[in-house]
Symmetry: C2
Subunit: 186 residues, 2 copies
């Protein structure tokens, strides 16, 4: 993770505060992506991105401990004004839903403890915000995230790219229609 940059500010719009710094988290049990985007004078800049990982054989309690600890570390280091996670997606299997739910729970409990405003966006809405349509492929999302943030994402983990997309989606939603479409805080 890179060191913390200076100079960011929140701008108030009639209906929503445009956050100066947003942390996107693409939550999963083994590999959770994160991406931090700063917004200054409506210009966007990626501050840091990567993944919180646990090995395949690790116990569930260890996976969740690392995940919660990793998020805590990101909040301490970057003090984001808002956090965005993925929500309301299709999950066919109840067992998978329970495990993914556990990863989300470990993360949201930490966010609740820090009191950072947390928002949830459906994957379709993230793709729409970043790519202009809700059926974009992973490659299209990566391409557009790279363009929006003027950086190369070659070789960067998909989950980190998706986390940056979550942060971008929230910032664009705040900047559009006076922030009228920003969802309720989680």
């Amino acid at each position: 993770m890179s060191s913390r940059p200076a100079g960011r500010a929140s701008t108030t719009t009639p209906n929503a505060v445009l956050p100066g710094r947003v942390l996107g988290i693409d939550t999963a049990l083994r590999t959770t992506g994160f991406g931090i985007v700063d917004c200054s004078n409506r210009r966007l800049r990626a501050v840091d991105y990567g993944v919180i990982k646990t090995a395949r054989g690790e116990r569930l309690s260890e996976c969740l401990r690392r995940l919660a600890g990793g998020v805590r570390e990101l909040l301490d280091r970057y003090a984001p004004d808002a956090v965005v996670i993925e929500g309301a997606f299709y999950c066919r299997n109840v067992k998978t839903a329970m495990l993914l739910g556990a990863a989300r729970g470990a993360v949201i409990a930490v966010l609740g403890e820090y009191g950072t405003a947390t928002y949830e966006y459906a994957p379709r809405r993230v793709k729409q915000a970043v790519c202009g349509h809700g059926n974009a492929s992973k490659d299209q999302v990566a391409l557009l995230v790279a363009r929006h943030l003027v950086l190369s994402l070659e070789g960067v983990h998909d989950d980190a790219t998706d986390a940056l997309a979550l942060a971008l989606c929230h910032l664009q939603t705040c900047m559009t229609a006076n922030g009228l479409l920003v969802p309720e805080v989680l």
Copy 2:
């Protein structure tokens, strides 16, 4: 919650350590039951039991924050040797599974942080251990938990009774067949 009693010890059996103090947690998003049972010279005693509650209208992040904080408080106060949660149950709805998973995740992340040995038992197995058969009703479970612990559970929240049953189930499993049937740590 009552104050902490003195005098408990762990006894080693060939295949499992018989814990001196077990915390059972019946996890849910709004009302989570807890029950602490001490075992000394194979005699069982309820130390404390109750529920961690959040109001209906509370945000998800606040529910999970309180739940994680409540479990942390119990671990600090009672320092159990083992923790038992309910696992592998039938859940028809994916959305419900996700929410229940979130509550479990918030709890398990804290247990992982404290490094307390955590075990999971299916509801059927808990009923079998406490009542002798896996199809026992809530009332039968309450009756048998009260008998095992020689106390009255009249007016006590179902979730607290279920949490005591979880703790009892683990202690009985440790005492039976030299602890051969104790599940893997979570």
